[in-house]
């Protein structure tokens, strides 16, 4: 039973292995960067958090408000991840 199942699935498993193995590491790195960049872009399409509407931020200068937009921090984290992928081989 086990051998039969393994022999049935093996060609597909080998195909997946070969296909992924054919992608060079530079390509893999680009895939990771694109995945992170796509998420960062998607996060920026969320509605503006507009911290001006929160009582604790009323009257604060607008430059200060950027740091209270959580989308900004999410993008920073993802950019850092992209930098790590680029810097470390």
């Amino acid at each position: 039973m086990k051998e039969t199942l393994a022999s049935l699935l093996k060609p597909f498993a080998d195909f997946c292995f070969e296909a992924l193995n054919a992608i060079p590491l530079t390509g893999a790195r680009i895939i990771f960067i694109l995945v992170m960049a796509a998420l960062a872009f998607w996060i920026t399409t969320f509605k503006d958090e507009n911290p001006k509407n929160l009582p604790e931020y009323s009257g604060k200068p607008s430059g200060f408000l950027l740091f209270h937009d959580l989308r900004f921090w999410a993008v920073c984290i993802l950019v850092l991840q992209i930098v790590l992928v680029i810097v470390f081989k």
Partner: protein, 497 residues
């Protein structure tokens, strides 16, 4: 390995007694299940963020990640970077605010509202059993570690760990878990930085390490690499990281694990819940420095260790002077306890809210549920104490049991995700999807060695189990009747800030 000096023992005792007293004070004004299971929804976001991170670093991770870095090098950083940062951002903007708005206590509770009670109870039983079984394993691994490190008898280690964790979790509930976790995070970072600094000086920094490691030696060719090919023979190759960790197990953990999500639900606002996960992600960026680098330094300082998992305790014992050993040992205990307290509190929450209240006492008062939660906390720590030695005797069986239960993570995440984003997903589809996903996982695990050429097949199995559950849920849902839109609309994901 070594005995603690009286000064070290005093530091450890102060730490242990201190967190039990803290648990007592934090639990004094708790009267309802919201106080006990969600900290009264008054938890500080930065404490929750630190708690999320330290709970992720249990005994297994502390020993395992450093040990694996000792053998495989820098690619282990992917456990904290590629496997966590992407899923944590997704969790912060998709899952956590979504659950917070739904005002649920548990993820099975959401499943019950979105699908039906059968899905709720099934998922609750799976997660509830998984957590209680894991408690026994955490205690056993902790005891074994303490035995290696300071020669403590196994039964004494189990008793001390279970008593301390059980006491502060029993008295203070989630609030005690989060506050003690925050303290444990600070102690853990201090201890790990000490080991990192001393290791750094001994090795001569990064440049000294690069010079000392012979990357032409067999098995060390990719010691400094993070993105690895399938033919490298290393466990964390890039497809395993991308498909297994980044896309499935990472989001399933950060967005679908009760122990993680529950403490975010205890924050005072939806914005605080998001902030807690993003803050946790910021802290996560630093974890490879305190876990992976010491393991890599150990490869130079102590080559040829028989069991690589003992590298962290070895460095503690060999590098640290009296006094500092006590601090780092307390940090080590902190790491052991942070996972136990989280799973203990979450197991009590699931069994109280999704099994006891749902199946046996729907009209239970807030005060009654609070008392049930406390009783279950005691019951589960006692069960874990009983399971811990059995884990040692039948390690293979228990490892298999936990592997079996962990197979549910991918499929459970698949039906959770579809329930959130696809209005056509039905309860029959979810049940079938869950079963198909688990069957896929079990089958692939069974024939794993004959099928997978790459190392670490579990990560690929997680992907295929998730994919199988996703496809089965979609297909069956298309042939079954969905719920009315008006009934599920509040339970569907909406892109709001």
């Amino acid at each position: 390995m070594q005995r603690l000096s009286p000064i070290d023992i005093a530091i450890v005792l102060v730490y242990l007694v201190g967190i039990v007293i803290l648990g007592y004070f934090l639990g004094r004004k708790q009267h309802t299940e919201t106080d006990y299971f969600l900290g009264g929804r008054k938890l500080k976001w930065w404490m929750v963020g630190a708690s999320l991170v330290v709970s992720d670093i249990g005994a297994l991770e502390l020993m395992g990640v450093s040990g694996a870095a000792y053998v495989y090098g820098f690619s282990l950083a992917n456990y904290d970077w590629l496997a966590c940062l992407f899923p944590m951002v997704v969790a912060a903007f998709v899952f956590v605010p979504f659950f917070w708005r739904a005002r649920v206590y548990t993820i099975p509770e959401y499943m019950g509202r979105r699908y039906n009670d059968a899905v709720r109870v099934l998922v609750a039983l799976i997660w509830g059993s998984f957590m209680v079984a894991n408690l026994g394993i955490f205690l056993w691994v902790s005891a074994k570690t303490l035995n290696v490190l300071v020669g403590w008898q196994l039964h004494w280690s189990i008793l001390v760990t279970a008593f301390v964790v059980g006491a502060y979790t029993f008295m203070g509930g989630l609030r005690a878990v989060v506050v003690t976790d925050t303290i444990q995070y600070i102690i853990l970072v201090i201890g790990s930085v000490v080991i990192l600094t001393i290791g750094w000086m001994k090795v001569g920094g990064i440049s000294g390490m690069v010079e000392a490691i012979d990357t032409s030696a067999p098995g060390k060719e990719f010691f400094f690499d993070t993105i690895l090919g399938l033919d490298s023979g290393y466990p964390l190759t890039w497809p395993a990281v991308l498909f297994g960790l980044t896309f499935v197990l990472g989001p399933a953990y950060w967005g679908g694990n009760q122990a993680i999500v529950q403490r975010c639900l205890g924050t005072g606002s939806e914005r605080d819940a998001k902030k807690s996960v993003l803050f946790g992600a910021c802290l996560k960026c630093t974890i490879p420095l305190i876990l992976v680098l010491p393991g890599m330094f150990g490869a130079i300082l102590y080559p040829g260790i028989e069991d690589p998992d003992t590298i962290y305790p070895t460095m503690m014992a060999e590098l640290l002077p009296v006094g500092l050993t006590g601090i780092v040992f307390a940090a080590f205990l902190a790491a052991l306890m942070s996972s136990v307290d989280s799973y203990l509190n979450s197991a009590a929450t699931i069994w109280t809210m999704d099994i006891y209240k749902r199946c046996f006492n729907r009209e239970a008062s807030h005060e009654h549920l609070f008392r049930v939660g406390r009783v279950l906390t005691i019951v589960f720590i006692l069960i874990a104490m009983g399971l811990a030695p059995i884990t040692g005797k039948f390690e293979g069986v228990f490892s298999y049991f936990v592997t079996l239960l962990s197979m549910f993570q991918g499929p459970t995440f698949a039906i959770l995700l579809l329930g959130m984003i696809w209005k056509r997903a039905t309860s029959t589809g979810a049940l079938v999807g869950l079963l198909v996903g688990v069957a896929t996982s079990a089958t692939l695990t069974w024939i794993g060695e004959d099928l997978f050429t790459a190392a670490e097949p579990a990560l690929y199995i997680a992907w295929w189990a998730f994919f199988g559950a996703l496809v089965a849920t979609v297909v069956v849902s298309l042939f079954t009747q969905p719920k009315e839109w008006s009934a599920i609309e509040p339970l569907m994901f909406k892109k709001v800030a």
